[in-house]
């Protein structure tokens, strides 16, 4: 290599000694560098902002995300309502399934049923959605177009996770709203006004369910497709549900949300506070996997 002519035709130009995409180094001309303030870390953040913007746009246009939201929110609402009505009519199978919740009145009973369903259905919905968000790039072949860009692949992967977590908050609010409507429709506003505070548990469990489904995204990346991520999701649900039913694993982040859904008093707040270690660890693994990605399969 004898040298590089800079300038070109008005496009991004300038050459600098490379330091890796997220390293610290001098910043030359170019759209990212101009906004980058000279530090590699800042460059990464600029890339992350673009990654989030792109992924948000894709998510908002996606029928997968919209239909998953609708299925989860409406499905859990209808299922909870159905189980409560069946319990009220004395259906023994439903009463057995509900256990101690069968006799719980008002908001406590409604929210308890919703949490039991959401602890499994929520993880399934979130795991499938995240597997799609990451695995689709391999299934659709678009992953090749994510190389050779000023926005790094880790920034794109983390952008997906940021959008995913924001989406989980939207789902949490929507589900809480639907269940509130169901409760008020069943007259709990008058008969159990004080119990309405129980609704606050719903968004907490929804977001916790999203957090513990994050490993599915890493598996979808490593496995280069949707199905490995969905398989990981099923694995997370089995571990969480079986452990919760056996009443073990209160300090295991994957299990604590399901246990808290069944028996909130049995799970200390600190056990829930360590749940974010799951997305932090697997988010970092995801970024690393995307950073080191090769199209060799």
């Amino acid at each position: 290599m004898n040298g590089v002519r800079t300038g070109g035709r008005g496009g991004p130009s300038g050459v600098r000694t490379g330091t890796g995409r997220c390293g610290v180094g001098p910043v030359g001309p170019g759209p990212f560098a101009a906004r980058g303030a000279g530090l590699g870390f800042t460059r990464c953040l600029v890339g992350l902002r673009a990654g989030v913007a792109v992924e948000a746009r894709k998510a908002m246009a996606s029928r997968v995300m919209a239909s998953t939201t609708l299925l989860l929110v409406v499905g859990v609402g209808v299922l909870a309502l159905g189980m409560l009505l069946a319990a009220a009519s004395g259906d023994e199978q439903v009463l057995a399934k509900l256990g101690p919740l069968a006799g719980a009145p008002g908001w406590t009973g409604l929210v308890g049923v919703v949490l039991q369903i959401t602890a499994a259905a929520g993880v399934l919905a979130f795991g499938v959605a995240l597997s799609w968000m990451l695995g689709r790039e391999f299934a659709d072949g678009t992953v090749a177009a994510l190389f050779g860009l000023p926005v790094s692949r880790p920034a794109i992967a983390l952008g997906k996770l940021v959008v995913y977590l924001a989406w989980s908050v939207v789902v949490a609010v929507a589900l809480t709203g639907v269940i509130a409507i169901v409760g008020f429709a069943m007259g709990f506003g008058a008969t159990d006004a004080a119990g309405v505070r129980a609704l606050a548990r719903i968004p907490v469990l929804v977001v916790l369910s999203a957090l513990i489904a994050v490993p599915a995204g890493w598996v979808a990346t490593i496995g280069r497709g949707l199905l490995p991520g969905i398989a990981a999701t099923v694995g997370i649900i089995v571990v969480a549900q079986v452990s919760a039913i056996a009443d073990v694993g209160v300090w295991v982040p994957l299990v604590a949300p399901a246990l808290w859904a069944i028996a909130p008093d049995a799970v200390p707040a600190a056990a829930l506070l360590i749940v974010p270690t799951v997305p932090l660890a697997f988010g970092a693994l995801c970024a690393l996997a995307w950073s080191r990605l090769q199209l060799d399969r």
Binding site: G8, G18, V27, K58, P150
Partner: protein, 245 residues
């Protein structure tokens, strides 16, 4: 000093299980040049392109992109690159325009720059009719047009296109040809692979022949009967390897 090199590969090797891969590739693409790679299916063209773009890490040898070693290329370097290898960046749920806006953002353009670049790309690649149509409803050829437009809308100086005429109708082939010639005239270095020797001859300054993972020679773009010359090179190489085996 020779012309600035947009891509430079030296002694490049990457082996796959079963013996496939590329071996000892020396290749460069200068500014203002269209360099074509031709070869049979499985010859190693796409592998070479993947190595040039960091999609694969080499077992041996080195790659430089715009003068920077590919493993150390930063955002400013990659913002000078445009590529389409295999699948176009065309998300099914996004319209043609939205896909281009996403491409602009990923290539480092801000909202204002991106909007203008997308407008130019829609006009250049005659995508006006499809700007509001979801990519899932576009034909293969029009998705390819969207992908090419997205790869080139930021006016990259270093361009890699793998079989860009895939799925394109004759009008699309002409649009692409004019686009590449214009960019090369403006200083871009372009590496393009194709099976269409007549099309390659129309645009390429140099034609390199790849066979069994190695560069085996070159063709004169202005030469007579490129097809015959191509097969003579390939069959000659095959026979040489058979004799040596």
């Amino acid at each position: 000093m020779s012309a600035a090199l947009r891509f430079e590969a030296s002694s490049l090797a990457r082996n796959f299980r079963g013996g496939a891969g590329v071996h000892g590739i020396d290749l460069d693409v200068a500014a203002g040049e269209i360099h074509a790679l031709v070869g049979l299916n499985g010859a190693g063209k796409t592998t070479i392109m993947r190595l040039l773009l960091g999609m694969l890490r080499p077992d041996a040898g080195a790659v430089r992109v715009c003068g920077v070693e590919v493993g150390r290329a930063d955002a400013a370097t990659w913002s000078r690159v445009g590529q389409l290898v295999e699948h176009p960046l065309a998300y099914a749920e996004l319209t043609g325009r939205a896909n281009l806006e996403v491409a602009a953002r990923l290539h480092g353009l801000d909202r204002a720059q991106g909007g203008a670049a997308v407008d130019r790309a829609i006009e250049e690649f005659d995508l006006g009719r499809y700007a509001g149509v979801r990519a899932s409803r576009l034909s293969l050829g029009n998705r390819q047009r969207v992908g090419i437009a997205g790869a080139l809308l930021h006016e990259p100086e270093a361009i890699v296109l793998d079989e860009p005429t895939n799925g394109l109708d004759p009008a699309g082939v002409i649009v692409l040809r004019e686009s590449l010639l214009r960019r090369a005239a403006a200083g871009a270095g372009i590496l393009v692979s194709s099976h269409h020797l007549d099309e390659v001859a129309r645009v390429a300054d140099r034609i390199t022949v790849v066979n069994d993972g190695r560069v085996i020679g070159s063709l004169d773009p202005g030469g007579f009967d490129l097809e015959r010359a191509f097969f003579a090179l390939v069959h000659g190489d095959d026979e040489t390897r058979r004799a040596a085996a």
